[in-house]
């Protein structure tokens, strides 16, 4: 085993693991011995806030928020892709422009969808 070329790696791995785990273990032992936990109902509440915590930390977002995700893609993420496209525009071939156009059309479709859903109107 010692003659294996990977033996030194295994030793290094064990050392690295110990280097990471030993301080954690020592901290845990120290906390056990010198700072015993003193929990109470208010301290264990899900949020630390002066007001009484409401509900659960595990909440589900309503699926209707997908419209915000679409709008975010159109107006924010799109800009990230459009800027390098605009910079490199003159040097691009027909195929690249075509690909970019398809990408834009997909986003415009999302915009049309959001428009049709009426979320662009100021309520």
């Amino acid at each position: 085993m010692v003659s294996s070329p990977y033996f030194s790696l295994a030793v290094l791995f064990a050392g690295a693991l110990g280097f990471g785990l030993a301080p954690l273990g020592l901290a845990w032992l120290w906390a056990k011995a010198f700072s015993p936990a003193k929990p109470n109902a208010v301290k264990n509440a899900i949020y630390e806030c002066g007001l009484v915590s409401q509900g659960d930390a595990w909440i589900q977002f309503h699926s209707s928020y997908y419209l915000y995700a679409i709008i975010f893609l159109i107006f924010d993420v799109e800009a990230v892709f459009l800027l390098p496209f605009a910079v490199a525009f003159t040097g691009l071939g027909l195929a690249a422009c075509g690909a970019m156009l398809v990408f834009l059309l997909m986003l415009v479709e999302g915009l049309a969808w959001a428009w049709a859903k009426g979320i662009l109107t100021w309520a």
């Binding site: 003193k38 109902a41 208010v42 301290k43 002066g50 007001l51």
Partner: protein
């Protein structure tokens, strides 16, 4: 405790430093008291000034103002505690990690101050939670807060780790949760925590 203080000074002059676990432990505790980032009224402005360069609370290891009570050791009640705010203050105190300390800063926090006769101001936060250091002043100068801080450090330094007077986190019997008052019809209910603040005897 084990080593006589004069002998310790003498040894120190010779370059020999002796200490005890208790001293080392308390030195660590008092040198990294993290206050909670929590201001109530005009005293908070003085508290903020204390943390800035001119007064520099960082000299005492307490510059890390934590926005979460779960990471804080010290609550500085900096200002007027209204009856509307008192339950929130007590709840935040309950959520702080042990060992926790409280500095009541300014006339309002210790007694209600100029608003003592008002219907809506709590006449001292020590009615609900144990206060370690009271500072008078309206508002107290940053120097006064530093003085309070040094007093607290001294208090932490002198706490034995065993026996009576040990820090609350080492005392399994010490109260961890303090009852949060609720808004009653005319006043907070209860009007004070009898365990922390025994009713003063009125002599007529």
């Amino acid at each position: 405790m084990a080593v006589d203080s004069e002998l310790k000074i003498e040894l120190g002059k010779q370059g020999v430093f002796v200490t005890t676990i208790e001293e080392l432990y308390n030195w660590g505790r008092r040198s990294s008291v993290w206050p909670m980032q929590f201001g109530l009224a005009c005293c908070a402005i003085e508290m903020i000034a204390t943390t800035m360069a001119r007064y520099d609370l960082a000299r005492f290891g307490a510059e890390v103002f934590r926005p979460s009570p779960r990471q804080a050791d010290l609550m500085i009640i900096s200002g007027t505690v209204t009856k509307k705010m008192a339950p929130q203050v007590v709840r935040l105190y309950n959520q702080m990690a042990e060992p926790r300390y409280v500095i009541a800063m300014g006339a309002c926090a210790i007694s209600g101050g100029p608003f003592k006769q008002g219907y809506n101001v709590l006449k001292g936060i020590d009615r609900y939670i144990p206060v370690d250091v009271h500072i008078p002043g309206c508002p107290p100068r940053p120097e006064a807060l530093l003085q309070a801080f040094m007093t607290l450090q001294k208090k932490i330094d002198e706490q034995p780790l065993t026996g009576a007077g040990r820090p609350r986190h080492l005392d399994a019997g010490a109260q961890g949760e303090f009852p949060v008052p609720e808004q009653g019809e005319h006043d907070l209910e209860p009007t004070s925590n009898k365990g922390v603040w025994p009713l003063p005897v009125v002599i007529r």
